[in-house]
Structure formats: structure tokens, C-alpha cells
């Protein structure tokens, strides 16, 4: 099975060949590195940009205006915070011209904790991003979705933001990406040999792309129920999604049936799916790893309260990153700051057992 970095790479390759993708760029995105997380190795249209995030976002915007489809990378989302004005401008281009212009462009950036990234390589971007109108925002939790969401971004006529949960980029999927070569250990090895850049000299290396890659698309705006359940709904995305699924499996053994929803798209999101689940379970916890104050999960709680207040049997809850100025490097600090499996289990039990 491909890991998420490989999945993204294959989707970008498919995009170059079939969807008019013409420019993939950012810091260290081109050869020899192909991205600090290898997500752009071996592609045809990659190149290394100057070390200038404002230039990168401006460039992507201009390429969008020019109708040249691009994927621009910000190396870590921690470094996107000097471009919020430009992201707002990209997000308002269609609206402020009253529909005259549209702006096809994709920005991707690794987010979140889980690699001991300390203060400047661990932050998330979902709170700030969901506060910027005009963008569509996706965040996969597995390689197949990563592939399908990237294809969706490359087809969209609007600015799209693809958030890469960095802790999951090297994690292999459970579901096959249509076209990837064989799903056993052999297939994995083969895939690595085909599309992972070799160690050492890479000047002569060319990727061998799997032939059968398809148009497999995960539509923007559609979430997915990854565990069905009756007693509690866990809503999450990105790094914490697999933890929620693990928590559900564990809780099932304890006799609690927990539904887990992978939002996949953060904006505009699949409220139908979420609200139907909450109507059924009447209990919900939103889980993400962003700092918790003015957090996107708080929006989801607001909407839950707005529309489902009288159907709830327990307080809707948020489990998110602690409101600290950074994520400390030392293990006990990162563990105490960011939501872990144990925290999800604890809060889930609490909510399931909550009685007025």
C-alpha cells in the first residue's frame, strides 16, 4: 500500500498528465529533494522557489489568474502565518469581482504535531484557514483519501487548500489507490522502487509511474463514516482521526458503540453527515489538534448547539490542543499539549456516561 506522501505524489502525477497541472513549486519541492516530506519527488513540473512564503502565495494567485493550474507548497504550515492577507485576497477574488474572475489554485502544507517538531514545526492551520472565506479546505487521514482529495482540488475552479497531516505522511493505507501496483509487501517494495527517489545521486533518476492511475475523486464537501455506532459520535480529521477510530474499537470492547466521522473536507463541510449522526447518538465530541481557543471545533459545537440543542443528551465537547504559545519539544510536553489516544478514550467515556 502506498503511504500518504506517495499517494499525493501519484495524484500530482495524474494531475500533470490529465488535469492540466503545470507548476508544482515551493521551497525544496523540486529536485533533488522533492519536498521535505517527499510528496513531490519525481514529478515533471516541480521546481524550487525562493525562500519566500509571501512570494509563493502571490505566485500561486497570479498563476491562478493566468489560468495556469498550480500546486504551491508552504514547507510547514507554521510558515504560512505571514501570508494570511494574501490568502484572504485569493479567497475574495471571485467575490470582489462579483463573479467575473475565478481563481483555480491549490496550496498544500503539512500541519500538526507528532514528529517532535517543537515550537515551529508542530502547529496546525485549520482554525485560521476556516476563518478565511472563499477557500475550500481539505485534510485527508489516509492515502486513498489524500489521492482523491488532491484530484478534487486539481479539478476545482476555486482556491483550494490541502492540509497534510505530517504525522500520517509515512503511514500506509488500508485501501488501495486504483492503479497502484499490488497491495502486498512486494507491491509496496515495487512502488518504492518506482516512485521514491533513491538515496545518493539523483541526477539521473526518473520516476516510473504506475500505469493504471485513475480519476478517483473524493468529492469536496463529503465526509465519511469510518466506524458506525449508536452511543457517541466522534468527529475528527487528520492526525487525530485514526486515533478516534482506534478509540472506537477499544470502546466497543467496553460495550460502547461509537460512530466516527472523518470530515475530510473542513470547508464547506458535510453537515448532513455530522448532524444525522448526532441526531442518532445524541452525544458528540469534536477532536482536532489545533490550539483550542477560537478553534474550528468550537464552530462545529456552535452549529450543533444551534441546530440540535434539544436533541442532545450530553454536552457537546471539544478535545483539542492546549492553549499554549507552542508545543514543547520534550516528550512529556508534547504529550500533555496535544490530544492523544488516551485523552480521546477518557473524554469519550465521560460523554457516554454523562447524565444531566
Amino acid at each position: 500500500m502506498a503511504n500518504m506522501a506517495q499517494a499525493i505524489r501519484m495524484a500530482l502525477h495524474y494531475g500533470e498528465e490529465n488535469l492540466g497541472l503545470q507548476e508544482v513549486f515551493g521551497e525544496d519541492v523540486g529536485p533533488p529533494l522533492g519536498g521535505v516530506f517527499t510528496a513531490t519527488q519525481g514529478l515533471k513540473t516541480t521546481w524550487n522557489s525562493p525562500l519566500d512564503e509571501r512570494g509563493i502565495i502571490g505566485a500561486a494567485t497570479g498563476l491562478g489568474f493566468a489560468g495556469v493550474r498550480c500546486v504551491a507548497e508552504i514547507q510547514f504550515c507554521d510558515y504560512i502565518y505571514n501570508t494570511i492577507d494574501l490568502l484572504k485576497i485569493a479567497g475574495n477574488a471571485c467575490w470582489s469581482s462579483n463573479g467575473d474572475w475565478n481563481l483555480p489554485m491549490t496550496v498544500m502544507t503539512p500541519v500538526g504535531s507528532g514528529i517532535r517538531g517543537s515550537i515551529y514545526h508542530s502547529h496546525s492551520f485549520d482554525a485560521t484557514a476556516t476563518h478565511i472565506p472563499g477557500w475550500k479546505i481539505v485534510m485527508p487521514s489516509n492515502p486513498l483519501d489524500a489521492y482523491g482529495l488532491m484530484i478534487a482540488c486539481l479539478k476545482d475552479e476555486n482556491p483550494t487548500l490541502f492540509l497534510k497531516p505530517k504525522a500520517l505522511l509515512r503511514v500506509k493505507g488500508e485501501d488501495a489507490i486504483p492503479g497502484e501496483p499490488g497491495l502486498d509487501k512486494d507491491g509496496e517494495k515495487k512502488l518504492r522502487e518506482m516512485i521514491d527517489a533513491p538515496l545518493g545521486d539523483r541526477t539521473k533518476w526518473k520516476a516510473q509511474w504506475p500505469k493504471g492511475l485513475t480519476d478517483f475523486t473524493v468529492p469536496i464537501g463529503k465526509g465519511k463514516t469510518v466506524r458506525p455506532g449508536e452511543h457517541l459520535t466522534l468527529v475528527s480529521y487528520g492526525r487525530t482521526l485514526p486515533l478516534c477510530a482506534m478509540a472506537a474499537d477499544q470502546l466497543l470492547k467496553e460495550g460502547h458503540s461509537v460512530e466516527v466521522i472523518d470530515m475530510r473536507t473542513l470547508w464547506p463541510y458535510d453537515w448532513d453527515l455530522i448532524s444525522q449522526s448526532i441526531r442518532k447518538t445524541r452525544r458528540v465530541v469534536f477532536v482536532n489538534e489545533e490550539t483550542e481557543v477560537t478553534n474550528f471545533g468550537e464552530h462545529l459545537i456552535r452549529r450543533t448547539v444551534d441546530e440540535l440543542f434539544y436533541e442532545l443528551e450530553a454536552r457537546p465537547r471539544l478535545l483539542a490542543g492546549k492553549f499554549t504559545p507552542g508545543i514543547g519539544l520534550a516528550d512529556p510536553l508534547e504529550m500533555a499539549t496535544q490530544p492523544q489516544l488516551q485523552n480521546i478514550l477518557e473524554m469519550s467515556r465521560e460523554v457516554i456516561q454523562e447524565r444531566p
Binding site: 525562493p50 509571501r54 512570494g55 489568474f65 495556469v68 492577507d85 463573479g99 467575473d100 472563499g134
Partner: protein, 335 residues
């Protein structure tokens, strides 16, 4: 009429430029009048930049797509767009923020144009961000990717704004070895940023000098002189268009009505008026007589009065439309 020693350009062209300069000036003055008569909330514009902006607009390769020029403009660019062919009525509509405003549907300030068919993305009020965005259309047109591309990218902005990082970004990105971008970077230097005098902020001898370290060709131009401006723009455009490399041009211009309506939008003493200067020259050279020019003034005075009056009769946007076009072709609340 013949080319005289006083003038270098073809008299026909001079007459055309003069016509557009007068029309542009009248347009701005009418916008100011509308603001003062409470027919708009805010005015900002470009009276005083016509001698530079009209020659620029006339020399643009106008059209849609990569083989035409992209223009990333700021809020003093009305004369460029007028020279390209926008309708003054539409500018009044935007000032009056009517639903019929074709640039923003009553959403944006006056002189914040957007003309997709001519490669003009929405003008943003945010100083200097257009220099970052211009990188992108420049990339789209660069030689290393599109060797036969005919279009170039133009971007303009003020002097004070060059202190923002995006100005430096545009120099860095435009001059990468073997990846040079075909961008004409323009700075219109009026020696002010709102109330702040340039000489209190700029250690540079000239702003154009900042291009030199990057090996970018530069020029400082008297933007109050039509013929100098025409020729400088012509040469710079030709260089960018054929060499596919960047050019940084600083144009010295006047700010005839102050910064914006926030500072009163009254005529400022002591600033050179490029239109008056040009008319003196035209008269002296025998290209146009005072009387001929007066009648042009009168004609456009009437045009602007009538068109502004028309704009005032048009409907306001519908409050139900606030979500429209958050995304392409989308209407109504979508979430």
C-alpha cells in the same frame, strides 16, 4: 498639422493622448464631485498621473490570456483603463456602488477595477500585494516555460509601498538565473504616502536603484512629460516583451488632489499638473489651440456630468446577494 521640433510623437497620437488625458481628468474630478455630493462613501484615484498612465494604457497589448498583457494595478490607475477603453459610466456606478457596477457589483471602492477580458485582476486596496501576485502571471509567461509567449506582466504601485516586503519579493523572483520573468515593474513616485513625506522614509537615492543589485534594468522617468513617458514605456515594454526579462521603472508623478477623500480631495497647490504642462506644449507646437482644447474640456465635462447623473438612478445591490460568488458561479447561501 505636422510633427514640429517641439514634439517628438506623431501629432495624431498627441491629440489622442490629450483627449484621453482630459477625459481621464474629468472622470476623476467628477468622481470627487460625486463623493462631495454624498454620492459615494470614499474617493481615491489618479488625477495627476495621466501623462504617464495614458501612454501606458495605449501601449498595452490588450486582451485575454497569456499572449496579452496582465495588469496588476492599484487605485490610481483610472487613466490606464480609460485609455484601454473602459466606460466612465461604469466608474461612476462603482462610486455610487450600484448593482450595475461591472467591476464589483457595488462591493468595492471606486477606482478598484476588475476587467477579466483584459487580464486585469481585481484591484485590491492592500498596498503592494499586487507585486506578489504579479510574480504569478510573470511565471505563467516566462521564457523557460513558454518560449513563444507574446504577453507580458505589468504591475504598478506607489513609492511608499515599496517598503513592503512584496516589492522586494517581486525583484527576487523576477531575476532568478535562467528563470527571469517578463514583468514591467512600475513605481509611481509622488513623494507621499498619505501624510508621510518620502524624504523622511527613503534612504535610497532612487527607488529604481533597488533593481540594480539584481541585474534588473531600471529607469527613472518624468511621469509629468507625456513624450518622455511614452518613449520610456515603449522601450521598456519592448525590452520586456522581446528579452523576456524584468524592467523596473520609477515614474515621478504628481498627486493633484491629495491622497483621497479622507484628506479632503481638494486641489493641492504647488504640484506640477501634467495636463496643463502638456497643453502648453501642444499649443506652443501648434498641435492644438486653446480653443480646441477648451471645447474638449467642455465636451467631457458634459459627458461626465450626464453619466454620473445616470449612475445615480441605478439600483443598489440586493442584500440577499451577499454570499453570491464566494465561489465561481455560486449564488446564495451555500453552507
Amino acid at each position: 498639422m505636422k510633427k514640429t521640433s517641439e514634439t517628438k510623437l506623431d501629432p495624431k497620437l498627441l491629440i489622442k493622448i490629450h483627449d484621453l488625458m482630459v477625459r481621464g481628468r474629468k472622470l476623476e474630478e467628477r468622481l470627487i464631485r460625486m463623493y462631495k455630493q454624498n454620492d459615494g462613501y470614499f474617493w481615491i484615484g489618479g488625477p495627476g498621473e495621466e501623462a504617464f498612465n495614458v501612454p501606458l494604457g495605449l501601449q498595452v497589448s490588450k486582451g485575454t490570456g497569456l499572449d496579452h498583457d496582465y495588469l496588476h494595478l492599484h487605485y490610481r490607475s483610472s487613466a490606464i483603463l480609460l485609455a484601454m477603453g473602459i466606460e466612465p459610466l461604469d466608474a461612476f456606478r462603482q462610486m455610487k456602488n450600484t448593482a450595475t457596477d461591472p467591476f464589483s457589483g457595488g462591493r468595492n471602492f471606486s477606482n478598484h477595477f476588475s476587467v477579466r477580458k483584459w487580464n486585469v485582476p481585481p484591484i485590491t486596496s492592500t498596498i503592494e500585494t499586487q507585486y506578489a501576485v504579479a510574480i504569478g502571471t510573470g511565471l505563467a509567461q516566462r521564457k523557460s516555460r513558454r518560449p513563444n509567449c507574446k504577453g507580458i506582466t505589468l504591475v504598478n504601485g506607489g513609492d511608499a509601498g515599496t517598503a513592503e516586503g512584496e516589492f522586494a519579493s517581486s525583484l527576487v523572483w523576477a531575476s532568478r538565473p535562467n528563470e527571469e520573468l517578463p514583468i514591467l515593474l512600475i513605481v509611481t513616485n509622488n513623494e507621499w504616502g498619505i501624510s508621510t513625506a518620502a524624504n523622511t522614509q527613503h534612504g535610497e537615492r532612487s527607488i529604481a536603484d533597488r533593481g540594480k543589485a539584481f541585474g534588473i534594468k531600471t529607469a527613472v522617468v518624468n511621469g509629468n512629460d507625456v513624450e518622455e513617458a511614452w518613449e520610456a514605456i515603449r522601450q521598456a515594454m519592448e525590452y520586456v516583451r522581446t528579452e523576456r526579462k524584468p524592467f523596473l521603472m520609477e515614474a515621478r508623478v504628481s498627486r493633484l488632489y491629495g491622497h483621497s477623500s479622507a484628506s479632503g480631495a481638494n486641489r493641492v497647490e504647488g504640484e506640477a499638473d501634467c495636463l496643463a504642462l502638456f497643453e502648453t506644449k501642444l499649443e506652443k507646437a501648434g498641435v492644438l489651440s486653446r480653443k480646441e482644447m477648451d471645447s474638449i474640456h467642455d465636451k467631457y465635462e458634459v459627458e461626465m456630468r450626464e453619466k454620473a447623473a445616470q449612475a445615480k438612478t441605478e439600483p443598489m445591490p440586493d442584500p440577499g446577494s451577499i454570499y453570491d460568488f464566494t465561489y465561481y458561479k455560486q449564488r446564495g447561501k451555500y453552507f
